[in-house]
């Protein structure tokens, strides 16, 4: 389990992290979402020791993260970075060696990951000669080449085409199923919703919500209905515990306050006229996210 415990960090007058705590067990894909400047990148850099926290601690399997542990973390920084003039294979071998792999292990691992990410035929080319999409794949290979147990990836999907997204998603899933812990940040919330076992929403340096997407939906929030009654759209305006938040064609989108039961709404709709449609709606992660960060 990777644990971030009460991390605090300021930059001058700016508070980047304000007591961030989160936990990612092995075998879990943890999506880390938040608006720009919420503290995601700062948190990840602290996990890697690239940045020191003012206070708080990062632990892996119960003990503080040190150089030995960091050698088993795979990191993809928000700002991509490789030596532009180095050859792809040499680069991956070099990074694996820096993480403590032997020459033979590093070479074998570089070949495996180049093949897995579809850049094997570019092994002898300089990084700068590759397209941006392929450079991105090499960057991922660089994060994975030492077979890390913990993956910390900052926006790993940005810049990838849909095929690249699928390749990366399956590669990461495989790593996690093999027992790795994965934290990644993304602004592509549909992707996060699709891939993640758990999601953390960070706002102003604190975790404001976390859990599975299912838990976030049910967690003390209004349920949502789409209801259409023929000939009227005014029937719900006076209804207690119900708020009209939107219209979807002729239907009203209703948020139900805590304690309001869907069958009360159904009864009211039936009284108002002929019922055309009555559909419970699952809010998307994007909607949950907006609520969480705007609340």
């Amino acid at each position: 389990m990777l644990e971030l415990l009460d991390l605090r960090r300021t930059f001058g007058a700016t508070v980047a992290l304000d007591g961030l705590t989160m936990r990612v067990p092995r075998g879990q894909v943890f999506g880390f979402v938040g608006v720009n400047g919420a503290g995601k990148t700062t948190a990840m850099r602290i996990v890697l020791g690239v940045l020191a926290p003012d206070s708080g601690q990062v632990r892996w399997e119960g003990s503080p993260v040190d150089a030995q542990v960091r050698a088993r973390i795979g990191y993809m920084p928000e700002e991509r970075g490789l030596y532009p003039k180095m050859r792809v294979r040499d680069h991956l071998v070099y990074l694996a060696r820096l993480h403590g792999a032997s020459t033979a292990t590093a070479a074998a691992s570089a070949e495996r990951w180049m093949a897995a990410l579809g850049v094997a035929e570019r092994a002898g080319d300089r990084v700068e000669a590759l397209s941006l999409g392929n450079q991105q794949r090499v960057q991922l290979a660089a994060a994975l080449v030492h077979d890390p147990e913990v993956l910390v990836l900052d926006e790993p999907f940005s810049g990838l085409d849909p095929v690249g997204v699928d390749v990366l998603a399956s590669v990461l899933r495989q790593r996690v199923d093999d027992g790795a812990a994965l934290v990644f940040s993304s602004h592509q919330l549909e992707l996060v919703e699709r891939l993640c076992d758990a999601v953390g929403i960070i706002r102003a340096g604190r975790l404001v919500a976390s859990g599975t997407v299912e838990e976030l939906r049910g967690h003390g929030r209004q349920r949502r209905l789409e209801v259409e009654v023929e000939g009227t759209d005014r029937w719900a305006a006076e209804l207690a515990g119900v708020r009209v938040v939107d219209r979807a064609g002729a239907a009203l989108v209703l948020d139900l306050a805590d304690g309001t039961r869907p069958d009360d709404v159904l009864a009211a709709a039936l009284r108002a006229g002929r019922l055309v449609r009555f559909t419970p709606v699952q809010p998307s992660l994007a909607e949950l996210f907006r609520e969480a960060v705007l609340a």
């Binding site: 020791g49 030995q68 960091r70 970075g81 070099y94 993480h99 990951w113 077979d147």
Partner: protein, 405 residues
């Protein structure tokens, strides 16, 4: 489709020096493979060898060609040859042509160095004073011999009597006949030393900025300590500079030896050893400074700006070294050859000239080592504080405070 981790787990990253070795080897190997390195090595080698060989080709050896005419031409020529040999001048007697006018023309054109016709010397430019002295003496010797012979004295005896060896020269400053060639070696060595330190120091600077501008530094620092990265980079590039220096040194000494300008004696080897030693010290000093300065900026365009103080310091050292080579016994040369970092360039020419007492040399090396040790620590801290800060130029003060954050 994903590879598995089975059996590929290593026990974690190596220690500081294991990392330094990996980083250093990358710097060395990647740069050796770079075509620009090969080209720069060949170009410097060619320039250096050319500087050594070309003057000898144009100047030729110190052979002078002289035509002798007149009634006593044969006797004067023979006397001149003896005189020239004693004076260290290689005189070649050119057979006269059929007419005096043709020989005069050859002298005016400079085809021969001089024409001695009776009591007249004809040449294109003012003749070399040494040559003129030889001709003057030979002419007088023959005339004197004739005069004496006319009075009944045996010309052979006269010749022997009048053949006087030239004066032997002794000076107060240097009686060491090999100091000249040592100083020649030191002169070239100073130029090469300056070139190597500034070139490789600058390479360290651009290497630091390359890592910053390409952002690869954040990937590296996730597993490598900044000091190990800095140390590896400086050592790797320094070994490359050392290898190139040795290569250039061998090329230059070989060229000089082959063209006959240099005898490879133990003291020449000693001077070369001093040069290599000072390269290591000087490079360590400046490379640390270059690295610390470069870590403040994120774009290659800014490297020139932040490294200006170091290049100025090197340039001043270089001129001080030229000055010291010309007046190795002066007080200024004595002071600058001991004070770091000037000593890196000023010390070798003084040692070569034989004017540096062993005590001063030991002091100079000790002070420089001390300076390097202190500077490496300061530079490492500045580097650590600035290396992850991107954007504009990081002020020195913030770099100093930023370390470990």
């Amino acid at each position: 489709m994903s590879p598995t981790a089975a059996g590929s787990r290593e026990p974690g990253a190596g220690g500081f020096w294991a990392t330094v070795r990996l980083v250093g080897r990358r710097e060395f190997v990647e740069r050796v493979r770079d075509r620009s390195f090969l080209i720069s090595t060949v170009v410097s080698g060619v320039i250096l060898v050319a500087v050594i060989v070309l003057p000898r080709l144009f100047q030729g050896d110190n052979t002078v060609h002289v035509v002798f005419r007149g009634p006593d031409a044969g006797a004067v020529a023979a006397a001149a040859e003896r005189q020239a040999e004693a004076a260290g001048l290689h005189l070649k007697v050119v057979a006269p042509s059929t007419s005096a006018a043709a020989d005069a023309q050859r002298a005016r054109n400079g085809d021969v160095d001089a024409l001695l016709d009776g009591a007249t010397v004809l040449s294109k430019d003012t003749p070399d004073p040494a040559l003129l002295g030889v001709l003057e003496a030979a002419h007088r010797q023959v005339l004197d011999a004739k005069t004496l012979a006319a009075q009944g004295i045996d010309p052979a005896k006269v010749g022997a009597t009048l053949d006087v060896a030239p004066l032997r020269v002794e000076t107060a400053t240097s009686s060491d006949p090999r100091s000249g060639q040592r100083r020649g070696v030191a002169f070239f060595a100073t130029i090469v030393l300056y070139g190597q330190i500034i070139g490789y120091g600058f390479w360290v600077a651009t290497g630091v900025v390359e890592e910053k501008s390409s952002r690869v530094v954040e990937v590296l620092l996730a597993t490598v300590r900044p000091r190990a990265l800095l140390t590896g980079k400086i050592i790797g590039i320094g070994l490359l500079g050392l290898a190139q220096l040795l290569l250039l040194g061998v090329a230059a000494v070989t060229a000089a030896a082959v063209t006959g300008g240099l005898d490879i004696t133990p003291d020449v080897v000693g001077v070369l050893g001093i040069v290599v030693g000072w390269f290591l010290l000087g490079y360590s000093f400046y490379a640390s400074l270059f690295a610390a300065a470069a870590s403040r900026v994120s774009r290659q365009e800014d490297v020139q700006n932040v490294t200006t103080p170091m290049t100025m310091l090197l340039l001043v050292s270089f001129f001080a070294a030229i000055y010291a080579a010309n007046s190795p016994s002066s007080l200024g040369a004595a002071v600058l050859s001991v004070v770091p970092p000037f000593s890196a360039l000023v010390c070798p020419p003084r040692v070569a000239a034989g004017t540096m007492p062993a005590g001063q040399l030991v002091l100079a090396v000790a002070l420089m080592v001390l300076a390097v040790v202190l500077l490496v620590r300061v530079a490492a801290r500045l580097y650590e504080g600035a290396i992850l800060r991107t954007g504009g130029r990081v002020p020195w003060r913030e770099a100093w405070r930023g370390a470990g954050r």
